[in-house]
């Protein structure tokens, strides 16, 4: 204990030098923590932008559905699966799909109808928040439709427009209804933008004459479980159906995210290295400057080990102290950027790459790792940086050390 007290006192015998070193270390810690949190935030945001808009973390389908997309391949035992998911706190949204035609006077387009139950859809996706114009479906059926953005443009339709839906119904008849546009979605990916027409489950039933059965169920635990955990939980009650995580449903996007994740780690490593070298340099200079001082200590009979120990102790105290300050400031900034995301909308109104819609708000996400790594790096660097000149000083002839410039 005494050793650290002496180290603390020693540090403040030259406040200016210590101040400079301290500032360098604090700044590096802050920058590292904030960078780490922003990078994490970007990756998490990308994953969420994939899972939370429509896909969810995992999905199930009838074993043949994804191959043929037939109206008749419906999920086995749907109610049991829904009940199981809800009991386990996993959001679940059953969906039905059917292909057909939407027409408005002279314009018409082939569409994929999504029959959803709005209050259940909200537990899985943020579709209801992703509106470009108008409102989302109401909880009650009313022959309303929400359109993909490009589809709305093709049909020249806006909220309030009246469209005619014509489909091949499950009994072979020509299902047809007048539907009213309730809202238009923001861009959420090329295919969906062009083809998606969301209607209430009950309206879907009467349009397609398909009163029971779902083609897809999407699950989302909103981060409390990993996609793999969600999938394996659902698997236990889904015999006969196909269970997939979003990663295996969208392997391309998943690979892209993995690559991006890898690139981030390299980027962070370079950042850490640069910060470490900066601190190393400052500390080295500070210690070199004190070599005559160590010579004096040696001349009055201090053992080399004691010198090394004292210098290491000083460096450690400095490291801990600066990482404490840096940690507090870094955490505060990261928390600030978490609640006040960096606004990129000046550059672009949401990015859309390969089906990933990037939020224009860049949010930081603080993790334990994101604080622990920078702090540990500071401690290690500070001690290492001090030890080398300390060894050198300890081995020096006192006379030469005294005159060392």
């Amino acid at each position: 204990m005494n050793m650290f007290k002496i180290a603390w006192r020693n540090l403040w015998r030259n406040p200016r030098r210590t101040g400079i070193t301290l500032t360098a270390m604090v700044l590096s810690t802050v920058v590292l923590i904030v960078t780490y949190a922003l990078m994490r935030g970007m990756i998490i945001d990308m994953e969420h932008s994939v899972t939370d808009i429509t896909i969810g973390q995992a999905q199930i389908h009838h074993i043949d559905y994804r191959k043929e997309r037939s109206l008749y391949d419906i999920i086995d035992n749907p109610n049991r699966i829904i009940a199981y998911a809800q009991d386990n706190g996993i959001g679940v949204s059953p969906r039905s799909f059917g292909y057909g035609l939407l027409s408005s006077g002279t314009k018409s387009a082939g569409v994929q109808f999504w029959g959803i139950t709005p209050e259940m859809e909200r537990t899985v996706s943020k579709l209801n928040e992703n509106l470009f114009k108008g409102d989302f479906l109401l909880d009650e059926p009313g022959m309303h439709v929400v359109l993909g953005r490009k589809l709305a443009r093709t049909l020249n339709a806006g909220p309030g427009s009246e469209l005619i839906a014509v489909v091949q119904a499950a009994d072979g008849s020509l299902g047809n209804e007048i539907v009213y546009v309730k809202g238009i979605l923001k861009g959420i990916g090329e295919t969906l933008d062009r083809s998606m027409a969301i209607i209430h489950r009950k309206d879907f039933e009467s349009l397609f004459v398909l009163y029971e059965g779902y083609h897809e169920m999407a699950f989302n635990s909103w981060g409390s479980m990993t996609p793999e955990e969600v999938a394996s939980a659902i698997e236990t009650v889904s015999a006969g159906n196909e269970v997939k995580t979003w990663r295996s449903l969208m392997p391309g996007v998943s690979d892209m995210l993995n690559t991006f994740d890898g690139a981030t780690i390299i980027f962070l490593a370079i950042f850490f290295l640069a910060a470490a070298l900066g601190v190393l340099n400052t500390l080295l200079m500070a210690t070199y400057e004190r070599i005559p001082e160590f010579g004096l200590l040696k001349a009055i009979g201090t053992s080399p080990l004691r010198i090394i120990r004292d210098i290491a102790a000083e460096a450690l105290v400095l490291g801990v102290f600066s990482s404490l300050i840096g940690g507090v400031i870094g955490i505060a900034l990261a928390v600030y950027f978490h609640h006040n995301p960096i606004d990129l909308s000046a550059f672009a109104e949401g990015f859309n790459t390969a089906g990933i819609v990037m939020n224009a708000q860049w949010r930081a996400v603080l993790t334990i790792k994101g604080v622990a790594y920078p702090v540990m790096v500071m401690w290690v660097v500070s001690v290492l940086a001090a030890l080398y000149p300390a060894f050198k000083a300890a081995r020096l002839d006192p006379v030469r050390a005294l005159t060392h410039v």
């Binding site: 109206l71 008749y72 035609l101 027409s103 002279t106 018409s108 387009a109 082939g110 005619i164 014509v166 091949q168 119904a169 499950a170 009994d171 072979g172 008849s173 020509l174 047809n176 209804e177 007048i178």
Partner: protein, 258 residues
Amino acid sequence: MRREISIFFVMIFFMLLPSAPALSEDAKISSEAILNHVDDLFRGNSSYATMTMKVVTRHYTREITLEGWTRGKDYSLIRVLSPLKEKGTATLKAGNNIWNYLPKVKRVIKIPSSMMGGSWMGSHFTNDDLIKESRMADDYEHSITFDGTREGVEMIDLELIPKPEAAVVWGKVVVSVRKKDLVPVKIDYYGERLDLERTMVFIDIREMGGRLLPSVLRINPADKPQEYTQIIYKEIAFDIELADSFFSLRTLQSGTTP
């Protein structure tokens, strides 16, 4: 020199020309005549027919009665008579366009080209089948591949390969007709890769509307042997009086008859 050669070839060409068709003239003319006969069987300057269409698929079986008018190859109008739920649903074809009238919503919609491959009224016919105006004798290279007795009936088979520039979807078509009256019995449709895609069979040949016709027409998709669409003609009349204005969107919507 070059000119001489080309003139030489032209001369040879003209020498060969008269003899070439002469060799196969009988076969050529008769295969063309057969195809024209098959193509025109249900056509006339104009026609009126009532029919029942039965569709059997793995998932549903439905039966609807229809009445339809045609004029030349460009115009037709088909209207659903029953079941009640779909009564009044109508399809108008004019040239390359198809409109559907939907009585439930009281609207006419035009079928976009992207939906032409879709099923017509839940049957195994596509919208495309309705509008195609191909004449087999014009769009295909045709040859007789069988001329003899099969199952006690004298039959002729023709193999049709699409001409390179023809806008047809099939890779090959095989038409079988009875030799004595050229009434079709079966048509096999092959895809681009020459695998059988669907078969049309003609059953119950008898006199209707003053012509000898198969009164039942059944289409079978090759990949779903248990499924079929069958049309039974109940009544057919040819060369009836139809005004030009009959094949209009107004007729389609109002449900009037001529």
